[in-house]
């Protein structure tokens, strides 16, 4: 059915373009050019592109933090006009509040929604356990490692139960070992929660490992260059196996060569 098909597409971006004046020079920057993409329910979509291709601009527009004039962005059929709890965002840096404990950070979205305390506590515990922070409920962020802080940020977003989860290079600031663990954890959590996720990264391996599909962006002005499907069952995605699986390596190599074409020679 037509209506059904539309509802299965949780995030629809059509003809999205964006310009903004440079903060210092005032010069017009053409960040996004006629972007069209759709993310279906429960899908994990990765967005890859060279630095400065407008990935973060795209995310800010989807989050409603940056207003768009050209094109349309719809979440669950509703046009995006500003930030809202239907879209949860996990930011690159630690955006959790240092004056709230782990528990109170994770439950913050529910607190804002006005959920009564006992129900909130139950829900929060569920997500504390899901992200592996059991025993740390009453700690403050400065007592946690970088990876654990990102787990808190992830749990906070999940706990508010958004329709679509937007992630902006959430593992870029953690060390390589932690990143691998967090990627496997995120895969497990995505399976468990069946969330619709748009994940922005410049890391090709990460995109191929996590994504069901990968959108590759051109350099600025950012356009959708290609879409690569990764035919690796989510359940079998662990790094140990993936590196030897042609479904993963093939997709990764394809994404890599597409991205490489966009990296200017003078960038190295």
């Amino acid at each position: 059915m037509e209506g059904n098909a539309v509802m299965r597409e949780k995030l629809i971006v059509e003809g999205l373009s964006h310009h903004y004046p440079d903060e210092y020079t005032g010069m017009d920057i053409h960040a996004l050019d006629n972007v069209n993409l759709k993310v279906t329910e429960g899908e994990f979509a990765a967005v890859v592109g060279p630095s400065g291709c407008g990935k973060t601009t795209l995310l800010n527009i989807l989050a409603g933090l940056l207003p768009h004039k050209v094109g349309s962005v719809r979440v669950d059929g509703h046009e995006v006009k500003g930030p809202g709890p239907d879209r949860g965002v996990v930011f690159q840096e630690h955006a959790i509040l240092p004056w709230r404990t782990v528990e109170r950070n994770i439950g913050h979205g529910l607190e804002i929604q006005g959920l009564p305390a006992p129900e909130r506590k139950r829900r929060v515990q569920e997500f504390v356990d899901l992200v592996g922070l059991t025993g740390f409920e009453n700690r403050y962020p400065h007592e946690l490692s970088g990876g654990m802080k990102q787990r808190v940020a992830l749990a906070r977003t999940l706990c508010a139960n958004p329709v679509v989860m937007l992630m902006d290079e959430p593992f870029a600031a953690v060390d390589a070992q932690t990143r691998i663990t967090l990627q496997e954890e995120l895969n497990r959590i995505a399976i468990a929660t069946r969330k619709t996720i748009l994940f922005i990264t410049h890391n090709v391996d990460e995109a191929a490992f996590l994504g069901d599909r990968c959108f590759i962006f051109t350099r600025r002005p950012g356009k959708l260059k290609a879409t690569v499907k990764i035919n690796l069952p989510r359940e079998s995605r662990v790094w140990k196996n993936a590196v030897a699986d042609p479904a993963f390596t093939g997709a990764r190599d394809e994404i890599l060569s597409l991205v490489r074409e966009e990296v200017r020679d003078d960038d190295g």
Binding site: A63, I96, E185
Partner: protein, 277 residues
Amino acid sequence: MTTVSAPAAPARRDRKHPRLHRFLHQGGLELACVLLGGLALWSFLSHVVIPRPDRYLPSPGSVVFSSADMLWKGLLPDFVTNTVWRLLIGSGLGLGVGIPFGILLGLNRTVSDMFYPILNFFQSISGIALLPIVMIWWGTSEQTVIFVILYTVLFPISFNVLVGVRSIPRIYINALRTLGASRLQIARDVILPGALPSIATGARLGIGFGWRAVIAGEMLAGQRGLGWMIFTAQQVDLTAQVILGMTLIGIMWIVLDRYLLRPLEADTIQRWGLVQR
């Protein structure tokens, strides 16, 4: 899959006299030596060197005697409570006006650009320089002294809160907006707690300035209180009382700072890891 367990809190080491131990380790011994040395020098000067010590430099003993005398007559407790009350009321009003004002300035650049030069102008006019005009308005009254304290506290607190609000990472506000928070919820959950370190610092600074202002204010416009006591004692050559007043001012500030202001700062801020000490 993750099995990270919370590390146990470090065990407190048992000591017989932990307070004494801490005191000695934090330079308490050195402090005691300096104090005793100072007292000895003072006594020596007063008894041996200075002529007419009662007028120029009474000995520690006569200062203690003078305080005992004033305690006996009930004057000292009366003056101390007077001064403390004025400080509390004046500072309370100053913080009550200064904190919201600072937040407003921090949130809105247009408003702060407008007020900044005016604030800077008044900041250079110390409370004591303002006293004459206030005395023309209200004479030597309670109102005059309290107004000068309020005025003195207002600037350090406003400036600190302004800077504090501006230094709150934008990402905290954005994160809350994406969780669906209203402006009021953002103010309550991000702006206020985020500015708290600067509110605490500004309050401590402001009350410190206010403590000086109350003494100065009482000297010129008071009818009671420690400042008034020092000033009137000078006029009748009660030098021991002047020294007593000065000593009390210093000691009371140390007590106030150490047992009220610092713990307030430490309790909230250090626990959040916002200030690394």
